[in-house]
Symmetry: C2
DNA sequence: TAAGGCACTTGCCATAGGACAAGTTCTGGC
DNA sequence: GCCAGAACTTGTCCTATGGCAAGTGCCTTA
């Protein structure tokens, strides 16, 4: 028992080994293939996923109907549409696999049970979500204050897996540049 | 009893009148003056505030040391540094009053008690935070896909109080433009 | 193995918004 | 009421990035 991904994801000082085992028991592992859809816009999320290996992309549509990549989820990360799952409303984001991989799935009801039964798990959830909020706000600042080149270089440094495995056009919309520009940035970086 | 701000802020279908009264009892009202500091970067938040009247600004510093306005908090909204309060770490944001006003304050410990004693309050908190996350992500998309003029017009439409009461330079950094440009945008709009 | 079609690159020009600097107006003490 | 400094406007010029269109290379499928 005790797959290391659970220790990596559910990391909170007050979560004991027994808790982690109960948590793991509520998850179910499965393999997935490139192109597989995890959640479609318009559906209400009833579960979330831990990604053990592989890479997922999430995207929404802007007012003109263009796909905007909102994020990537890689190994040891949680793939979740928080707003849909916790407010029980249709998702505006889509989640799709960019590669084959392995993930663990947990149903909302099972999550709720853990959430109410294990206080440390509840605290973990709040801390995790507050961290996500922090990251989202930081991303906002970066978008407003850093040049496209700097944003790309930072992504390369912080999440090389994405740059290696995701196609250019998705990285471009994620960074808020056209793929033309990103192509030029790559060329320039490669000096 | 039952100040309407509590009904407005703590809005959740399962929060009953008795709950709201217990919640209100844990808050303390106070008046504040323009320029008053609610939380300074580097401090760890030990409380949060409901703003009954008035307007607050939050800001952080970018890598060059420039002030970047990260948000405004107006009437019937919560002023909180989520990451600092729930992860017990120093804030990177500052919160300061742009106007005089009235607010209610609650200490973290009192909040924790409500959070553990009232399940509906706990659910409310999770839904509230997931909504904040949703808003932050939406803001990201807007920043990447909308022109400065459109961003300003939307702000004007969605939160006129800010445009009326906050100085131009703060609105400018919030929207990610220079104050020179915002001044020109305003002129152009006024056609 | 040919054909169509993505994904990406490259060139050329256009434009939103930035940088800087010189006003002008507003505002809060005194 | 007066003054200093802040807040805002405006002019001129500049740069990063977008828009469009024409490649090039690669991968899939028949």
């Amino acid at each position: 028992m005790a797959n290391p991904i659970f220790k990596a994801v559910y990391s909170h000082p007050e979560l004991k080994t027994a808790d982690l085992e109960a948590i793991q028991a509520a998850h179910e592992p499965f393999g997935f293939s490139k192109g597989e859809v995890f959640l479609k816009a318009g559906q209400t999320a009833n579960n979330y996923f831990l990604i053990e290996t592989g890479l997922l992309r999430s995207f929404a549509h802007d007012f003109d109907g263009n796909e905007i990549t909102t994020g990537f989820t890689g190994a040891n990360e949680i793939m979740i549409e928080v707003a849909s799952l916790f407010q029980r409303k249709p998702s505006v984001e889509n989640f799709i696999a960019l590669t084959d991989g392995v993930a663990w799935k947990i149903e909302f009801e099972d999550f709720q049970k853990l959430y109410h039964d294990i206080p440390a798990f509840n605290e973990w959830g709040r801390a995790w979500m507050s961290h996500q909020l922090f990251v989202a706000k930081q991303r906002n600042i970066d978008m407003l204050t850093k040049s496209a080149t700097v944003r790309y270089v930072n992504l390369l440094k912080d999440k090389p897996q994405i740059v290696l495995e995701a196609p250019l056009k998705h990285i471009a919309t994620y960074l808020g540049v056209t793929n033309t520009s990103l192509s030029r940035i790559r060329k320039e970086i490669a000096t």
